[in-house]
Symmetry: C3
Amino acid sequence: MKMTVISQNKTQFIDITSQIQAAVKTQGINSGLCFVFVPHTTAAVTINENADPAVPSDILNVLNTVIPRDLDYRHMEGNSAAHVKSSLVGASEVIAVKNGQLDLGTWQGVYFCEFDGPRTRHVNIKLIEE
Amino acid sequence: MKMTVISQNKTQFIDITSQIQAAVKTQGINSGLCFVFVPHTTAAVTINENADPAVPSDILNVLNTVIPRDLDYRHMEGNSAAHVKSSLVGASEVIAVKNGQLDLGTWQGVYFCEFDGPRTRHVNIKLIEE
Amino acid sequence: MKMTVISQNKTQFIDITSQIQAAVKTQGINSGLCFVFVPHTTAAVTINENADPAVPSDILNVLNTVIPRDLDYRHMEGNSAAHVKSSLVGASEVIAVKNGQLDLGTWQGVYFCEFDGPRTRHVNIKLIEE
């Protein structure tokens, strides 16, 4: 299953938890694993707190501070820092499905991580039933 | 299956390899995948060397050095650095099971990573039989 | 299935996409998941752009810049920075298999990440058929 995510900013965390949960419901899986994959090299997916919007904002702030924008980069598209963030945060997450629901912790949500936007992006979701 | 991990320090790596191996044995899985998931947003799980205790100590030292403690954080709980470490190290690991054993490398162990302790934490283990 | 990777440099990204694709073909899997695991603690696996060789070179440059070489490390083998990179980039990747092919994005390839070479290394590949 493929979902579309549209980012508005250069770097941005977009909460996609409810869309993934909807995909689990659509496929009618009761128990198994949900595999979330980002088919891009300047984006990523992560799980973190989705109660306080300051949390994703702080994470982006740290990544944008720690990963140098102007190192002696050889890649000429000017987005090398985005490629680094993509490898550090990672292209996939696996989440258990239990009683038809994503088995996340109380404070956890799933974020699409845009590191070189704004762009129209895709997220692949694959469900493995037990 | 849910296991409990109790951390004693603010940041700490706790070797949980033997508990995960015990869970594999309890469920009687011979071959498949073991999925380890941390349902917290200021903790993580990683695989690294568990022969020399200096290794997890050095990893924590680097993370605590590289991720700024006092950036202009907006999240008011004072644990934004912990949220960042959680996303960088990651909430899950997948390990193959072979002949009833976790198929880890010679020097590999599985660590629960506490970034905002001390706390009582949980780790979810899900086994997929082949 | 176990494949061998031989690194030539201290730190190096080696594109292993075609070898993994060959493993998928050999096992005759049409649809499922491909699990790629590195059984080492000073190496990792990541997915990133494999069109421009400057991208992996830039990622290595950032990691080698951001992770300090000479912090007050306790581990006496002199490769603590490699252990840190291993935990940050991660020991595994999961990739969907669709129509007998790795379901990667247009620009994505799979890299073995050497952080303490040169060495002879191994990569474990496990395929789960749907």
